[in-house]
């Protein structure tokens, strides 16, 4: 009996210490993370051509891939090639030109797609197949 009472007291003290430890580590970790977050700068990318995106900016930030996926199925399977929500449409507006006036791929360093996806640590797989520069139609326009 005496042994069990001692053990109970010891385990209580132990769980208290563990709880305190967890809180300390959590607080320290949180502070460290806040510090790290503050050090990561917001992604910078060239401004788009055109005045208005096809959807509000906050909707596009969260759901652009839903739009792209929906449109891709409609295009591939049904042949609906409307420019709104198409990847080609995104690239037509968001591709930047270099000093020589040539289009830079949207997945190149610092460009529209790449800069945000690096910030969010998301790998883009679109451009192993899709053109990352605007279509010829846009490229030839002044």
């Amino acid at each position: 009996m005496i042994w069990s009472g001692l053990f109970e007291r010891w385990s209580k003290r132990r769980s208290c210490a563990i709880r305190a430890g967890v809180i300390t580590v959590g607080l320290l970790g949180g502070m460290a993370l806040t510090g790290a977050y503050a050090q990561v700068s917001q992604p910078l990318f060239p401004s788009a051509r055109g005045e208005q995106c096809v959807e509000p900016v906050d909707v596009m930030r969260r759901d652009h891939f839903e739009f792209l996926k929906h449109q891709r199925d409609k295009t591939v399977h049904e042949g609906i090639r409307t420019p709104r929500h198409s990847l080609a449409g995104c690239i037509d507006c968001h591709a930047d030109k270099d000093a020589q006036g040539r289009f830079v791929p949207v997945n190149a360093k610092g460009q529209f797609c790449q800069s945000c996806h690096v910030y969010a640590a998301v790998k883009i797989d679109c451009f192993s197949c899709h053109a990352a520069r605007p279509s010829e139609r846009v490229s030839q326009s002044p």
Binding site: E78, G79, I80, R81
Partner: protein
């Protein structure tokens, strides 16, 4: 539309009916007036491909010239099929085949590409549903779901499909292609969707041979359907009963 409402004779009633009916017809005629533009464009941009059409190709072997590869190079240019000088593995959507009859030494030259079967074996064997037949009969690969298993390449009796073995760059906007997926002739689906002929057909006409005719098999007024109805044409491997959309004349 002047109507005398006081007159209640049967003739007048009939006249009123006709006047109203003609107004209705005029209203109806307005809508088809707009529709005519759509018909000229074959399909509205946001309308899905329809099973009322079936796109097909007629190859006139008598007009096809041995040594001419205008169709092949046009296809390569259109889709950015830049080879790596490795014919064993380079993508090939259309190829020229030369045949010689050993008895008579009669020579034939013809292009062979995806035959856009009504019962495509590639679609039957595809484990992911990536190989599919569009409503208007064009057989395609959805590269988003293709896992590169190449069963379709084994199943195709025409060896029409290619596998992309290497990383690519500089793809065309209208022809996305990438390593690890299978591809084949799309009948230039991006051009068909904007009411143009495939690149090979255009190149053959430009070269002055006119050995390729593109059109809608289901439309009796289409030049292709007319020619198919008037002359004897053959399917390659007709014994397989695949009902191909590419037909050959003079073979």
């Amino acid at each position: 539309m002047v109507m005398d409402m006081k007159d209640s004779s049967p003739a007048s009633a009939r006249r009123t009916f006709f006047t109203q009916a003609s107004a209705g017809v005029a209203l109806l005629a307005l809508a088809p007036g707009v529709r005519l533009v759509d018909l000229a464009l074959a399909r509205v941009q946001d309308e899905p491909a329809s099973a009322t059409q079936r796109w097909g190709l007629l190859v006139d072997v008598d007009r096809c010239v041995s040594g001419c590869d205008a169709c092949v190079s046009a296809c390569n240019t259109e889709h950015g099929l830049d080879g790596n000088e490795r014919p064993q593995t380079d993508a090939q959507w259309i190829r020229k085949v030369d045949l010689v009859d050993n008895n008579t030494e009669h020579q034939l030259s013809l292009p062979v590409m995806c035959q856009h079967c009504e019962e495509p074996p590639c679609v039957d064997v595809c484990p992911t549903g990536a190989s599919f037949r569009r409503a208007d009969g064009i057989v395609l690969v959805d590269k988003h779901t293709c896992i590169g298993c190449r069963y379709c390449m084994m199943a195709c009796p025409y060896q029409a499909r290619s596998f992309i073995h290497e990383d690519l760059s500089g793809q065309k906007t209208h022809a996305p292609r990438g390593k690890g997926t299978v591809e084949s002739c799309t009948l230039c689906v991006h051009r068909v969707d904007r009411d143009e002929s495939p690149a090979c057909v255009e190149a053959c006409t430009d070269a002055g041979h006119e050995a390729l005719v593109f059109g809608d098999i289901n439309d009796r007024n289409d030049p292709l359907a007319t020619q198919l109805a008037e002359t004897t044409t053959r399917e390659l491997r007709a014994d397989l009963k695949l009902n191909t959309a590419v037909r050959y004349r003079g073979l």
